[in-house]
Symmetry: C2
Subunit: 135 residues, 2 copies
């Protein structure tokens, strides 16, 4: 196959039942997009299913136990040596209180309008813009 | 994690450079959606990356060698015992002539308008409807 390799990253839009979604801010130690808002999630480990990977990443990054509810959409990021495909899943909280890892330093619950205005990681802007009608 | 498990299926929208996409018709031996139009693709084998899986499935189902170009979107299917998340990638043909496996018995190139009218697998209708503006 020619072209750059594609990696897959799964992301959770965790809702609060009132139309707001959880975002976490990338801490200053982040290699990319330090200080920008991000969604919990990440890459799939070898041999791991995508849903188990996302539930694990959410637990590691936020301390929350979640259930994945539905597919919300997808977007991509084009980097010099690779592309990343992002698959977004809506999720609800089953238990836990938000507790961040050292990768993130702030947490907020935002409406779709607030997400569209926030300083989020640029590769997600194309996804959050139409989000008002997606849930 | 509560709720049904989610499986991930990757699908290719292979374009012909003139705004048409390749669809293949599920043969009568298909357990589900026999006689309906489908996109090449399928599930990821254990330990396989999603892009390698999609290139492999396309080769097995169509005989074509393709390069994945970009993420087009995602949708889902809700079955009694599980849900399936579909990630759609646009792809271009590098080489090969279409040669179907026994899973499919017809091939067509369709515009987004034709896709919206065709008897495609029902879980893809929500995805192909807005496709005219997605490529």
């Amino acid at each position: 196959m020619a072209g750059k390799p594609f990696l897959l990253s799964v992301k959770a839009l965790i809702h609060d039942g009132y139309g707001r979604y959880l975002v976490i801010r990338r801490s200053q130690i982040s290699k990319n997009n330090a200080g920008r808002w991000d969604f919990p999630g990440g890459k799939i480990d070898a041999g791991e299913s995508f849903d188990a990977a996302l539930v694990r990443e959410v637990a590691e990054e936020t301390g929350l136990s979640v259930t994945l509810e539905k597919v919300l959409g997808a977007c991509e990021s084009d980097l010099p040596d690779r592309k990343v495909a992002y698959l977004f899943m809506r999720a609800r909280v089953d238990s836990g209180e938000v507790q961040l890892s050292e990768e993130h330093d702030a947490v907020a619950w935002m409406t779709p309008d607030e997400l569209a205005e926030a300083d989020i990681c640029p590769q997600f802007r194309q996804f959050v813009r139409p989000l008002g009608g997606a849930s």
